[in-house]
């Protein structure tokens, strides 16, 4: 299936958000996840399975004024 990660299409097998974050080697503590414009809290990452066409935003807080 194809999902959009930060605006870019990507082929991926079945997985939940936790598995995807893990596969990408991302640190969970600094990550903010938005799926189809809904924030998914870290405690729910295990439960939310990605589906074809999903738009996933992986965000984090950075320096800014």
């Amino acid at each position: 299936m194809e999902i959009y990660i930060n605006g870019k299409p990507e082929e991926t097998g079945p997985s939940n958000i936790h598995q995807l974050v893990d596969k990408k080697g991302l640190k969970a503590d600094s990550l903010v996840v938005e799926l189809n414009r809904q924030i998914i809290k870290q405690t729910q990452w295990h439960e939310v399975h990605l589906q074809d066409g999903d738009r996933l935003e992986l965000l984090s807080f950075v320096g800014g004024g």
């Binding site: 903010v32 984090s60 320096g63 800014g64």
Partner: protein, 256 residues
Amino acid sequence: MEDNVLNLGGVSFGSRLFTGTGKFSSNQLIPHMLAASGSQMITVALRRIDLSSPTENILAYIPDNVTLLPNTSGARSADEAVRVARIAREAGCGNFIKIEVITDMKYLMPDNLETLKATELLAKEGFIVLPYVLPDLPLAKRLEAAGAAAVMPLGAPIGTNRGLETKAMIALLIENCNVPIIVDAGIGRPSQAAEAMEMGADAVLVNTAIATATDPVAMGEAFALAVRAGRMAYLAEVAGESPLARASSPLTGFLN
């Protein structure tokens, strides 16, 4: 001289110097700068992570006793600003939000109309809204009516360090608004922060001038002193100017 404590949305701030986390050569300087400056409010931004080289978590460098002020930088419309604000709150950053909507990428001027729209929407959702705007009195009154907790006029374009180029317009806001006025952007030197406070600004927000100084920690302290001096001078009421000299010593000759 008695001073009242700055209050924004029910939260009290002992320091009238707000700071930012952008442009530090190392994020490790941030907690030291905060300790030296006594700043109790600091801005952060939200961005897509770079999957090829994820950056470090900026929040890890901000002590718990400092209030986070997420900004909506990167937003090009009110809708985008609202989206960023909701994400920041959901992510645990609290209710404060600095609305920054910029459509002009040359001068980075805030889009006042989109900012007003976002303020109206976010204040209704219970955010403590601090809109960053060009100083414009009728707009500031509308922001106030829309529920803004403060108005943050720019002194000069972001990152220019040119000081209070909009001084006369900021003075109108200070004179006529009921919400606190926080001068944000353009302040490059402690003397300019003191100038803003002397004229009655309630606080200043300084990022570039501290973060890009050779010694950001010492500069943070210098700004804190300037902000205190300026505030004290405002409360003490600055003496008037005169076109002619007015002798400080008796005008009579020494032996008369």
